[in-house]
Subunit: 336 residues, 2 copies
Amino acid sequence: MKFGVIGSGSWATALAKILTDNGNTIHWWIRNAETIEYMNERRHNPHYLSNAYFDHHRLHLQPSLEQLVADSDVLVVAVPSAYIEEVLSQLPAGALKGKQVVSAIKGILPSANQLLNDYLAQHFGLPLTDYFTVLGPCHAEEVAAEKLSYLTFSGIDETSALEIAGHFKTPYLNTLTNHDVIGVQYAAILKNIYALGAGIAHGLEYGDNFLSVYIANAADEMVSFLKRLVWDKESAEEQKTINYAASVYLGDLLVTCYSLYSRNRTFGNMIGKGYSVRSAQLEMNMVAEGYNASRCICKTNETVQAPMPIATAIYDILWQHLPARQGFRKIEGLLV
Amino acid sequence: MKFGVIGSGSWATALAKILTDNGNTIHWWIRNAETIEYMNERRHNPHYLSNAYFDHHRLHLQPSLEQLVADSDVLVVAVPSAYIEEVLSQLPAGALKGKQVVSAIKGILPSANQLLNDYLAQHFGLPLTDYFTVLGPCHAEEVAAEKLSYLTFSGIDETSALEIAGHFKTPYLNTLTNHDVIGVQYAAILKNIYALGAGIAHGLEYGDNFLSVYIANAADEMVSFLKRLVWDKESAEEQKTINYAASVYLGDLLVTCYSLYSRNRTFGNMIGKGYSVRSAQLEMNMVAEGYNASRCICKTNETVQAPMPIATAIYDILWQHLPARQGFRKIEGLLV
């Protein structure tokens, strides 16, 4: 399998490290020629996860996205969801024919409110059988430090998912598989909303007792959304294989909500302390994934109709000018 | 309702604060006459949670346990599980006739491997209808600081549980009820084992990614034990009311595993760093609840037969001289 990595942020860099540590030689799209020169010489990414060093014999750094795609069998997409449409619009419609795509995106494409698989099906005709995700609780920084982590590879073709996963197995990375390629993507999106909410709660000076109740209830809310949208429609046989407590669902929620380094949590903390959304964004100079996600999920839930008082209150705070204190007063009364 | 509080540690002090803040006048058993004198004068407990101040008109401090029991309708028992048998042996067998008992004990009685309700039934003839628990994610320190927290009152007579709960409702304390008075006690015991294990993992220098996977899997293990031991035996109607993600189950697990101040976690951390059990106990000058609990639960699981690889590995580390590193290597391979 010839892997092509698309993206050069910290998560893309972590995945490139995992793949090369497994012994794969990879193609890696880096837009900037100077960065390529630097990386070929200095063996690490100057901008992100710069403590991860590479064997440069295993790296083919490639400034042309179209060439990278042509050279690869399996494309690992690790670009923030807000930029993915801009990046992929460089490719001609037939570029992904015969390719497998592994999405490492933990968000929704905001302008179309689409999962990446829907976008790729619409614009490139990619069948869902050739689409996979790599998700789970995995701070890139701990990959760089080679702390044991777990990643789940999902695909409706679970045999192919298992084959791809084999190329990521390293002494510090355990790989798991499941078939719930739609559910895991929604779980990854939802957890950002709840982590943003955990940040708001922290900013409002709730304590650890409250936070644990909030997160436990958020886990339950996530499960009821996934049940209605995905799991209840599956066969009894498939339903049995779904474990809500698996790392790709509950584990990822926990690491994101409890991490002090999560952008979503940091952004939420500023909202809880009284910043407006606009000034929090200016201050942080970035958009937290959970911000767009809260709007997209509430939109989707108009048809799903799962009970989601927590996600709805966070949406109302971020998008409908509901004061954070009032939003959390509503949540308070509903927690069990 | 005349409440009698038994215990003078930090959790007993927090419960006394909650009850008096609700407007109740309480009887409170304090063994030491000097402490009583101090508390009547200075309005706070000199030894535990000393930043919680009381309206002393609402306190009847009582050095005689037998007198306290005679003066009270509802006894709130908040003594560490290791000392409870010694404390209650002061009472004559008929002392609890007509009383209601609310257990705030987060452990098992180690010498008999018994829940408190079984001990009280055996020694005092207390019927289960008069037995309740108050449990949930609630650091005493946050009660003192009046940070919003949630406590769950459980009893097979849920109407009485609700009535008792009403006396604990304060602006900083939300009360919940359920009927699962046996399940919640086991959940409280299990979470100490898993928190001790989280400490071991930390001592072994696993990172946040691993910890989240470990805790998610521990949650699943807890649920499968509770299902086999308690929930599967209940009526379909009762089963529907059980929510594994409620604060008294998942929430309490989270706050205990993630808290850096948990004794169980601190104890586990020393084991992970290579201390023997004996030297960790000497160093800390106390016994972590999870230590005895791991033995009791593994014993109970001989008949329950739930899949509990995590709790078993922790038992083997603490009681069977299995090196912590080896125990966690076993766990690593089983996490999903």
